[in-house]
């Protein structure tokens, strides 16, 4: 029953065919509380499953019942019951459970039970427990499943053919460097490409099966069905690596598109149209089933160009058709996703880009050319330059042969500490600090510093907050704006949540500015002028 907890961790709702109305009817029949009492209580509690759990007056209910028993005995049978039997089953369950257990039970029925656990962490845990590779766990859990013993048995049975075909290759770590790079430790003769905000992925076509894997080993087929369609036109035995970035007619590539798409369980035609994306190919890992990762990049680039030329040809023939006629049906797509729902109306009306394109590469053989490209990164709305040696080097520094992300020099601003967010339930421990700049005559928030800093930095800020709190709003403490820090940042993002209209990207503490008055804090206009 490992999948029971998993299902609720990921907010999957069991099909119980039971709604709020039925639960309210049980309450009314058991407590005589009319609807107006339930409504009034709900306004106070602000959570319907909890209100119903609290209203059901039961003095018993200290039964130690496991989650799996609850699911098997009470939740799963509900969908097959008559209305009367459902009410009786729910009443029996409520009688047995404590108030807290009743809250969870109601949330399971109504679909509001979710814990904030990262998908990748859950998959890692399931992999360790079951002994199945994480990528296989991730892929199998996309399918439609119920937390039952039968399904679990099939879940843990090996299927080597499919598992191998869909397995991702190793994602080589990208070395991130702040500029200026150490020239003594950095040899030129590079191929470079602009890097944009997006998701690093592998697009895989093997044995007529197409898959997109994220760097966190999460299959993204359902989030990006139009890209799967593109990948399905690749020759079998091909693995490409690159970035999925937002797409627009003009630069910059919209950052939010990829995030929006990653959040949806299954992308609909409307989502695809409203948040278009493109797979920018940067490298080739496999061709004709042969691993190329150890070949020189010059060779990989040539192979990649051939593959993408062939793909462009295929796309020009098949890309505008609603059905992909001469490509064998992709059983993964058939199982997981009804492509026709996405593709039916796509071709004529669409203004979507081709799903894939080869990144533009340029050679950097001199420092001047590298620095020149770095200097225009912000104009291009790029996060930096992705570089790789054209030929492998016999270097003691193994990192030299890997992809390396060079970032443009960060900007700096003087910002005042405005508020701090406490760790819930803890009076003295803070998890986020908000800094502000002047806009007209008031300080408005422009940057949030998270937990990436050292304990010492955070303690120092925390001590200031404890001594200078003006007002508490829940977990948020507003402080006297007397503390000025020099903050470095990489870019400016628009923000509709902040009065300043901007949010500094990757803001980090540099140093505390003692002897600097609040009036010396930067203005929003000054910050904008830096970029």
């Amino acid at each position: 029953m490992l999948l029971g907890p998993y299902s609720f961790l990921k907010n999957r709702r069991l099909k119980t065919k039971t709604g709020l109305k039925l639960l309210k009817e049980v309450i009314e029949s058991q407590t005589c509380f009319p609807d107006w009492v339930i409504k009034a209580c709900n306004e106070r509690v602000k959570d319907t499953p909890e209100t119903l759990a609290l209203l059901f007056a039961s003095k018993g209910g200290r039964c130690e019942i496991s989650l799996s028993t609850l699911v098997i005995q009470f939740l799963q049978p509900l969908s097959g019951f008559t209305r009367l039997s459902k009410k009786e089953t729910i009443r029996c369950a409520w009688e047995m459970l404590s108030t807290t257990q009743r809250v969870l039970f109601n949330k399971m029925i109504l679909g509001g039970f979710q814990l904030g656990a990262q998908k990748s962490l859950i998959h890692e845990a399931l992999s360790k427990i079951s002994g199945i590779p994480r990528s296989v766990i991730s892929r199998r859990l996309i399918e439609d499943w119920q937390p039952s013993a039968t399904w679990f048995q099939s879940f843990i049975e090996p299927d080597p053919e499919i598992d191998t075909a869909m397995a991702p290759c190793h994602f080589e770590p990208v070395v991130v460097s702040e500029v200026p790079p150490d020239k003594s430790d950095f040899t030129l003769g590079l191929e470079a490409a602009f890097a944009f905000d997006g998701a690093r992925v592998q697009g895989i076509r093997r044995r007529e099966v197409s898959t997109i894997w994220s760097e966190e080993l999460i299959p993204l087929n359902l989030c990006f069905p139009e890209l799967i369609r593109g990948i399905s036109l690749l020759p079998s035995g091909t693995v490409l690596e690159g970035l999925i970035v937002g797409w627009d007619d003009d630069l910059p590539p919209p950052r939010e598109n990829v995030q929006k798409r990653l959040k949806v369980k299954t992308a609909t035609q409307k989502t695809i149209q409203s948040a278009p994306v493109q797979f920018i190919v940067l490298d080739i890992i496999e061709r004709h089933g042969i691993n190329l990762s150890h070949c020189p990049f010059a060779q990989r680039r040539a192979e990649m160009k051939q593959v993408m030329d062939e793909w462009s040809h295929q796309w020009s023939i098949h890309g505008n058709k609603s059905e992909i006629e001469d490509v064998n049906p992709d059983f993964f797509q058939q199982e997981m996703f009804d492509m026709s729902t996405v593709l039916r109306t796509e071709p004529e009306k669409s203004v979507l880009p081709p799903p894939m394109s080869l990144s533009r590469f340029f050679k950097c053989n001199t420092w001047a050319s590298l620095e020149g490209k770095l200097n225009i990164c912000r104009d291009k709305h790029a996060t930096g330059l992705l570089c790789i040696p054209v030929d492998p080097r016999d270097s003691p520094h193994s990192d030299e042969n890997r992809w390396r992300l060079l970032k443009p020099a960060s900007c700096k601003a003087r910002l005042a500490l405005l508020s701090a967010e406490r760790l819930p339930g803890n009076q003295t421990h803070f998890i986020r600090f908000t800094f502000g700049a002047w806009l007209n005559d008031s300080l408005v928030s422009v940057a949030v510093i998270g937990t990436q800093h050292s304990k010492k930095d955070f303690e120092s800020l925390g001590e200031f907050v404890l001594e200078n709190t003006l007002q508490k709003q829940g977990n948020n403490c507003l402080v006297k704006p007397d503390l000025i820090y020099e903050i470095s940042f990489e870019d400016i993002q628009e923000s509709s949540r902040s009065k300043s209209g901007i949010r500094l990207k990757n803001a980090r503490l540099c140093k505390r500015l003692t002897g600097t008055g609040i009036k010396q804090a930067s203005t929003v206009e000054e910050i904008k002028s830096l970029i």
Binding site: T31, A40, A57, K59, Q427
Partner: protein, 331 residues
């Protein structure tokens, strides 16, 4: 109209006294020693006998104070006043006011659940009942206190085994003593804040049992932090003196811990659901037991309780603040 609300509090014109006045008055009749009911500055005070030492501690030794045993009465300008147990905290009382055969009862704060630290609530028949209504929603039903105390003992034991300090946030008068009484069989020392410690002798003189306690001075806290339970008022921020947030666990003791959204709002991540106020059932039972012709609700939102009981055939309404006698009659 024997008792009416005024800006200074509930006023009895015939006897010229106020019940739990909000401002300085000539004559104050006090239900119990909590600071929102017993305020400084009045000329004369009247309270129950067990409440007397607590009131003197809070308001000063030299206040002009008369105390009556539970059930005993006194007459002020022809108005007969007596105090009857309310079960809220030590010395808490309902105030029975009788004038020319008309009986009003002002409940003050009360609870109907048994509490070993104070006399149990005593239902009183009356013509008009003014009841508190802090938890006047049916979502508030207190679990068996013994279950909560067992949870507290397990929690403390778990923390001790994990080498963590245990901090209980509880009001210094009433709640803290209830917690201590629940731990009376404990073999470990309990550290208590000085504000709590000052009330303990009065409880002991009434026969309430406590475990071995020590004052939670900074030295004692650092010395016994890994084994002791520390009880402090919520406002004392005892956790600050314990340093590293990973080295301690805290627990609040409050009826508000019943609802998750209110726990979040009041920043109570963990809580024992133990209250010194009546829950929904307690309020309904207490009001019905008075057999009062009319009931007024105060201290809290009584909209649901008043409508619920009115639909059951009782005359129940909310007591408006600062309302004139005429409009109160009209209601």
């Amino acid at each position: 109209m024997l008792i009416r609300p005024t800006p200074s509090g509930l006023y009895c014109e015939q006897g010229d006294f106020y019940i739990d006045p909000k401002r300085k008055v000539n004559r104050a009749v006090i239900t119990h020693a909590h600071s929102d009911h017993a305020r400084r500055g009045s000329e004369q005070y009247l309270c129950s006998k067990p409440c007397e030492p607590l009131l003197r501690l809070r308001l000063g030794k030299n206040i002009s104070l008369q105390a009556l045993e539970y059930g005993a009465s006194t007459s002020i300008c022809g108005v007969i006043i007596s105090f009857h147990p309310a079960g809220h905290i030590l010395g808490s009382a309902q105030i029975r006011v009788e004038y020319k055969g008309e009986v009003w009862v002002v409940s003050g704060d009360y609870k109907t659940y048994p509490d070993p630290t104070c006399a149990p609530f005593e239902p009183l028949r009356c013509h008009t009942f003014i009841s508190e209504c802090t938890f006047g929603y049916p979502i508030y039903r207190w679990p068996d206190p013994n279950h909560e105390w067992n949870h507290l003992k397990k929690w403390w034991k778990t923390n001790r085994e994990a080498g963590l300090s245990s901090v209980i946030n509880a009001y210094s008068l009433g709640k803290a003593q209830r917690v201590l009484n629940a731990l009376k069989d404990s073999e470990q020392t309990v550290l208590v804040h000085s504000a709590i410690l000052s009330f303990l002798p009065f409880y002991i003189s009434e026969g309430v049992l406590f475990p071995e306690v020590m004052e939670a001075t900074p030295e004692n806290v650092m010395r016994y932090r890994d084994e002791s339970l520390i009880i402090s008022p919520p406002s004392s921020s005892m956790e600050k003196s314990l340093g590293d947030p990973c080295s301690w666990q805290s627990l609040d003791v409050s009826g508000w811990a019943q609802i998750r959204s209110q726990k979040r709002k009041k920043n109570l991540p963990n809580g024992l659901i133990v209250s010194d106020h009546a829950d929904w059932e307690g309020l309904c039972q207490a009001i019905q037991a008075t057999e009062a012709e009319q009931t007024f609700l105060t201290h809290g939102d009584g909209s649901v309780l008043s409508r619920w009981l009115t639909e059951k055939g009782l005359s129940v309404s909310q007591l408006p603040e600062n309302r004139s006698t005429a409009s109160l009659h009209a209601s």
